[in-house]
Each structure stands twice: as structure tokens, then as C-alpha cells.
């Protein structure tokens, strides 16, 4: 089978790509998760200036193509302000910013979906607002939006393929290198597709299992 032969022959290329894709996605997921929580809290702040920043963030990053964001961060910043990121920095930064905007909206829905009585009970016990958010509201909110977060993680893995245009050596970049070496436009792309599919399929299975475990423990 040609596909296996080619995969084996160029396995080093593919593994480098796989490693970089996983690294990019992991950085984007962790960074986007933390930044997303912060942005969602800004969006629900009691001060209108913070609300405005949060809303603008979400609208801008969701309303413009990630490819454009990537090119502005990588080439635009370098030429306009002489801020030079490595391809890996630009790639992960773009993915973090982009997924933070989507995750912020998911978190906001989750936080607003937690019963008001939960906050009132916690506050009536003398807990401060931040304490209540951390121990009572956020754990319940995150649990309820876990499926949506999982979807976003899967999306991040796939979207990380975009950063190949600036030459970050992830799966698609390596694939294109092999295409130029072999003049075969089909097989390397098929291998790349299979690699992405295995990654996303495994991840969603793991997330499903995790979700089941959580909901078994405490059904409301």
C-alpha cells in the first residue's frame, strides 16, 4: 500500500509535524482557557469600561479570519513596530487569542446558567464575590459547558493547520514539504487527514469519558 510506504518513508517528517501540532494545540488550549475565563469575567464586570474591552475582544477575534490575525501578528508587527516573533510564537499567540474569544462566550453562557440561588447562598455565608466565583459558580459553570469546551479543543487542533502559511513546522507544513519532494499531491494530504482525525477522535472520546465520570458523581 502506497500510503503506508510513504508514511513509513517520511515518518520523521510526520512525527516532527505531529509533535509541533500537539504542542501548538496544547499551548492554545491552556492559554485560551485561562484567557477565556478572564475575558468572560470582563464581559460580565460591573464596570462598563471592562465590559466594553471584553465585548470588543470577543467580537474582533470572532469576526475576523484567523489567517488575517496570524499574518498581522507575524508580518504586520514585525514591519510596523519591529516586534519580531518566531513562527512558533506567532502561531501559538494567534491560536490562544482566537480560542480565548470563543471560549469566553462559552464560559459566559455557563456562568450565567448557574442558578442565582447558588451565589446568594454563598454570599449569605459571608463568602466574598471572588470566593463565590471560584468555589461555587465556576466549578458548576465549567461542568455544564464541558461538551462545548471539548468541541472548541477539537476545533483548535484542526485550526492549528493554518499556521503552516508562516512556516511553523506542524503537520501541514511537513506534509507540504513531502509533497514538493515527491510530486504526489494526494497521499501526503491523506496521511495528514488521518493524523488529524486520529487526534480529534481520540480527544473527543477522552472528553466523553471524563464528562460521564463527572455527571455520575453528582447529578442535580
Amino acid at each position: 500500500m502506497k500510503i503506508f510506504d510513504m508514511f513509513w518513508e517520511y515518518r520523521d517528517y510526520f512525527f516532527v509535524g505531529l509533535k509541533n501540532t500537539l504542542l501548538l494545540a496544547a499551548i492554545a488550549v491552556v492559554g485560551g482557557f485561562i484567557l477565556g475565563i478572564i475575558i468572560s469575567l470582563l464581559r460580565m464586570s460591573r464596570w462598563s469600561i471592562l465590559r466594553f474591552i471584553g465585548t470588543a475582544w470577543v467580537e474582533i477575534f470572532r469576526g475576523t479570519p484567523m489567517l488575517v490575525q496570524l499574518l498581522i501578528i507575524h508580518y504586520g508587527f514585525a514591519t510596523a513596530f519591529n516586534i519580531k516573533f518566531t513562527v512558533f510564537e506567532s502561531g501559538s499567540l494567534t491560536l490562544i487569542l482566537n480560542s480565548s474569544a470563543y471560549l469566553a462566550e462559552i464560559f459566559r453562557a455557563g456562568i450565567q446558567g448557574v442558578d442565582r440561588g447558588q451565589t446568594e447562598a454563598a454570599r449569605s455565608l459571608g463568602m466574598t464575590g471572588p470566593m463565590t466565583m471560584r468555589h461555587i459558580v465556576l466549578p458548576q459553570a465549567l461542568k455544564s459547558v464541558l461538551p462545548a469546551i471539548g468541541n472548541e479543543f477539537v476545533t483548535v487542533i484542526k485550526e492549528s493547520s493554518i499556521v503552516y502559511v508562516i512556516g511553523a513546522g506542524e503537520i501541514m507544513y511537513q506534509t507540504n514539504t513531502i509533497i514538493t519532494m515527491t510530486y504526489d499531491g494526494m497521499t501526503p494530504n491523506l496521511i495528514a487527514a488521518i493524523m488529524y482525525f486520529v487526534l480529534t477522535f481520540t480527544l473527543s472520546k477522552i472528553l466523553n469519558a471524563f464528562e460521564r465520570k463527572l455527571s455520575n458523581r453528582d447529578k442535580r
Binding site: 442558578d115 440561588g117 447558588q118 446568594e120 447562598a121 454563598a122 454570599r123 449569605s124 455565608l125 459571608g126 463568602m127 466574598t128 470566593m131 468555589h135 461555587i136 466549578p139 458548576q140 461542568k143 458523581r217 453528582d218 447529578k219 442535580r220
Partner: protein
Amino acid sequence: MINVKNLNKSFGQLHILKGIDLDISQGEVVVLIGPSGSGKSTFLRCLNLLEVPTSGEIRFENQLITDKNYDINKAREKMGMVFQHFNLFPHKSVLENITLAPIKVKKKSQADAERHALELLKTVGLEDKRDAYPSQLSGGQKQRIAIARALAMEPHVMLFDEPTSALDPEMVGEVLDVMKSLAKEGMTMVIVTHEMGFAREVGDRILFMDGGIILEQGTPDELFGNPKQERTRDFLSKVL
């Protein structure tokens, strides 16, 4: 212990509380009754500032808690509250529900907090439920846990917001029993309820609220036996 002066609360155009004055002394059990929409719950929720009054003053243990610079969390530590819908934390076990605030707010050690929690579970008759989650409890059990959770902060006053209204009839008794023994131990209590028999038995003073004011108040015998206002008589004739 609690002194309320000319308390007003509006939601937009809606004037809910229209100038309430009330003094509650240490150890007193005050029961608020009245028709729905009369402002009983809103008034109760103003006492620990879950609702922020539009105007007026509330003093708790001689502190002006309606002052903007007052840290309301300090007062709330000493004012336990029990809600109609229990509001237990569904992601935490019974023991964690009870120990969370003592550990986080009062900085008690986990061991101390748990020891106290187990004592409280015994007094509400649920020591075997320490590791259960709220979803595994009946309504009456949830409410008894909610009372234990509030008591874990060692409050000086307990506020009850229709604690039995969401319960199946056969579970009302177990919750009222816990409240009765609390009252007997001398806890200061403010209770909004529709359980007239309970109000009469446990209350030191009954307040009848209607249209955002305290229309009439007195001992249970005065208010239930010989109501002075036409509106009070009318209400009582419908609910008794």
C-alpha cells in the same frame, strides 16, 4: 440586635417596601406573615443586603450595615440564611457544603470544621449523610442540611425565607422540628412562613405585612386571637 429604620425598597417603578421600622432583640423569634407580594421575602433579604435597600437604615449589633463603607461580609458571617429552594451546592458533598464557609471565611482548620459539622449533622438527625451529594437527598433532608450549613458559621441570628414552601407536605414537620429546637435554644430568628400553626407555636412576635408595610404586630395570641385590622382578619380567615 437588629434595628430597621424607615426602610424602602423599589424595583424600578415598583415600590415594594414602604418605610419599615422594626427592632428585633436578642433571642427573639419574629415571624412574618402576609399575602404573596406583600414584601415579606424582600424585607428579609434586605436584612443581610441580598437586596440592597433603596433608602433607610439597618443596624446589626449596633453597626450601620447599610453604610456604603461597611463590609457586609462581616455581618453576613453572623447572619445565617435558609432559602425556600435550599440552594445547597450540588457539586459538593454534604460535609463539604457545611465546612466550606467555616474553612474559607473563618479560616478554621479542616479538622475543626469537620468536627463541628458532624455535631451539627447529629442535631439535624442526618449524621449518616455526611458523604452524600445533595441530589441524593429528599427535600426535607436538603433543608435540614441547609440549616446545618448556616449554623456552621455560628451565626447570632438566623433568617428563614419560606423554608418549608418547596417541600412535600410530609416533610414539612421534620424541618419545623429542627427550627423549633433552635428557637428553644434561644437563637434569634426571623422567619417568613405560611405555616400559621408553627408561627403561633414558636413565634414571640408575629408581624402581618401587606402592601409593603407592617400592618399589624403582636404576640401570637393577640394577632391570631384578636386581630385589630380588617385586612388581617380577612387574611387569617382565608389561611386558617
